[in-house]
Each structure stands twice: as C-alpha cells, then as structure tokens.
Amino acid sequence: MFRQKSLPYVFLVPTILILMILAFVPLGYAINLSFRNMTLFRPDSSYVGFENFVNLWSDRRFLNALWVSAKWQVITVTATMLAAVFLGVLMFETLSPRQRNIMCLIFLVPVLLPRVCAAFVWRFAFHPLYGIFTYPYRAITGEPLEILSNPNLALWAVAYVDLWQWGFFFAVIIVKLLEALPHQPIEAARLDHARTWEIHAYITLPMLRAQLVALTLIKAIESLRSFDLIYVMTRGGPGISTETLDMYAFSQGFIEAGRISYASSMAVIMLLLTIIIFTIIWKRVRA
C-alpha cells in the first residue's frame, strides 16, 4: 500500500527541493549583496544598509533604464500580439491546410535561431552603407541610412527584430488554436452571411480569449529576456537610448565599474517588480 501512495512524493520532493535550492540560494545571495558595498576589485566589503537603493533613485541612468524597459515591454508585447493575431487569422482564412502546415514550418524558423544570430543577421541588414535592408533607401537617395546609430530609431529597430522572432512564432500558435476550435459556430455565422472579419472579431477570438491572455503574459515574460538582442545590436547605445535594466545592471556590474553590489540592488528591484506584477496578473487571469 505504501508503495502505491509514495509516487507523488518520490517524484516531486527531490525535484522541487533541488529547484528551490537552485533558485533561492542565488536570490538570497543577491539580496544580501544588494545591502553591501562589494566591487569586483575589492573583495572585502561591509553592510551599507539601503544606500544602494537610495542611490538608485537619484541615478539618471537607472531611471532612464526603467523607462526604456517599460517602453520595450509595451512595444514588443503589443506588436507581437497584433501581428500574430493578424497573420494567424490571415493564414487560417486564405490557405489550404497543406499550405498552412508548410508556412507554419517556415514561420517557426526565426524563433529557433539563437538570439545572438538573429541580432547579427539584422545588424548586417541595418548597416548604413552595406546593409541589405538599407539598400533601397541608399539606391533612391544616394545617402546612407543610419538606423542603429540613431537614438530615435535604435529601440524600434531592435524591437523589430524581436517581433521578427516572436510574431511569426505566435502566429503559428494562433493558427493551431483556430484549427482546434469547433467548426459549427463559424459555419453557422457563415450561413448568416457574417463577414470574415466579423466572424473572427465576434466569435473565434472571444472563444480564444483565455489563450490569448496567456500568450500575452508569456510574451511579456519572454520580452524581459531582451539582453542578447540589445547587447549584440547596440550595447545599449547610441548613448543610453536602448539601455534596459538588465543591460545597465550588466554594465555596472561587469564592464564599467565592477560594482557588484550596486548591480545586485538593481537586480533585486527587477526581481521584485516582475514577481509582484506577474504573480498578481497570473493569479487574477486564472481565477
């Protein structure tokens, strides 16, 4: 009898314990670090209380990074969801199932590429003198087109690459979701001469509401992992116009000053923000 009931414990307890150790030890350590004044070049350090956190709020670059991160989240999540719904519906309406499957396979390619690769591919494409993306502009005007070195455009260009990776991927998911829906309501609406866009706006998309909300959340979580794209494409530049929180924490902790504690306090703030915001949203969505 014991053997029969032991399975959930045997299967869950070790795994969950290991996950907790792997997650909570670094997090506890990060919180500890954030109250010290450790740098990479000076191993001995002491507790300084909330000094790092207080300093952050008068740090112009930190406030800028907060703002850039917020912009990044809003732009990439909105763009991905809009593009994915549009492309998904378009594929569902205009292609045969066979064509759809082939296109789905192609649309999966960008998201599978390492982000470093996607970033390099588009960094060449955006090159002001030799890039393939800027070629039409050069051919017409004869002038080089500066994209990644333009503070007003750089964030949009990087966000475009994120959209290129995620928008097509989510379009594939939305096609699969549409295909799995029951056909009767759609056909009933067709018989009533509903227009195609009406069918999707009033029937299919509301039926997929829960899944669309979940996808939006997943995209919001994944958008937080933008570091590789930004690191390869702009390094936070030009100036600090694409410097997100993780980019700034990285450059404070590793490149410029080696201020491990200061970077940790930023990481702790990011951690609190994401955990609080996402836990509240997730629980509310599921309820």
Partner: protein
Amino acid sequence: MNMSRRFGQAFLLLMVFMVLFPLLWTLLNAFKQNVDILTRAPKFIFTPVLDNMIFVLSRQSVLQALVNSLIICLVSVVVGVVLGLPAAYAIARYPNRITDELQFFVLSLRFLPPVAVAIPLMVIWLNLGLYDTRLAMIVTYSLLTISITIWLSVPGFQQVPKEIEEAARVDGCGVYAVFFRIALPVAARTLLGAVAFSFVLIWNEFLIALMLTTSDARTLPIVASEMSQLGMDVPWGILNAAVILLSIPPLLLLGLLSSFMNSVFSRKKK
C-alpha cells in the same frame, strides 16, 4: 471574396520572404570574400569561397566552445529529463491544490530576471573556486532545463488516456511500472518535443554564459559574439559563417518542435 483571398495569400508570401530572405542573405555572405560583401549594391553573383567557414572551424576557441556547448547542453538537458519528467507526471496525474501551487512555482521560476540569478551566482562560483567551469554552467542551467521540462511535459502526460493506465493497473502493474512502461512511451512524442525545446533554450542561452564564463567554459554563442571584435575591421564574412554554423543545431530540430506544437494544440479535436 476571391480577390481579397489572393491579396491575403500575396501578403503571406511577402511574409515568408521577410522570414527567409535575411537568412538566405546571411548564408550567401558566409561564402563571400569581404570585397564582395562591402559593395554599394548587393551582389548576388560572386565566386564562393570557403575561407570564412574554414577560418571559423579551425579556430581553437571555436572547437573548445563547441565541446563546451555540447557537454553543457547535453548534461543539463539529461538532468532536466531525469528530474523533470517524473515531477511533471506527478503534477499531471494528481491534480490537487498542492500540485497546482507547485506547478505555479515552477512557472514562476521563468519570471526570474536572468541578471538576478547570474550576478549572485558569479560571486558564489568565484567563492567556491568553480567560476568558469563546465560544472558551474551545468548546475546553473539545470534550473532552466528542469523547470522548462516540467512546464512543457505536463500537457503531454495529461493527454495519456487514464483508461490505458487503469487497464495496466488491473493487469497487476505497480504505479511506478505504469509510469515507465505506459505513460512514458505513450506520451513519448510530446515529451521528445519538450526535451528538444529545452535543448534549444540552453544552446541559445547568452546572458548567463556571458557572466559566468571568461575562457575555459565559454559556450558557442559567446565565442560567436566575440568574433565581431577580431582585429580592426569587422570581419563580416567570418561573422556570417559563425552565425550560420551556430544556427544549424536548433534548425535541425525544427521538425520535432513543429510536431510537438501540433500535438499540444490539436488535443481539443479528439
């Protein structure tokens, strides 16, 4: 109606072009000399050379990074499978409040900003004398592989019909035998896709590897990104070649991942 259908198809073909063209262009550039890349007008006709590929593949740092990447990825994926699959099965088979909370805990690990994990881990591994080792990378990545394996395998196990498991129990199988002999093989296709996803995730991982390695344990994405800093000029051809080589392993898994998505999302049809 037919007009707008044609228009939609044309638009989708344009999208296919948007996906594939930058990649094909990168592939072409990987076989060009620098003079053919740095031209005012894009050059489609040129004499292909293997120099870039040979340069990349013959570098000691690349070979070492390849070995590192393979070992680190494979071991941490295996750790994810060994610890993650049983946990996912328990969550799928015993739905109650506790497993619900555990599933949320596993999911919430994905909320953690990588920086918040990488900075303290750097100090921890430095203190333990394990900084810049494969062991440290494997342990760190196991957090990712275990949680992603659980997250993606739960639906796979939920799809296994309860009746099959019950029939096996009636025939005298214990609960553990049911897991190994029934649930695992029945769900194998979906599970394989989940494992492939965790491999791709680790193969592509950049931020943690950048912070936790400096020379000995560097993985391929790090070495590839450093190629843009070779010498004075940016060696475009070499970079393109590195991009292509680094992208091959995830793309080899394309078919597997696509069938994983089909089986996860088409379950409602049955």
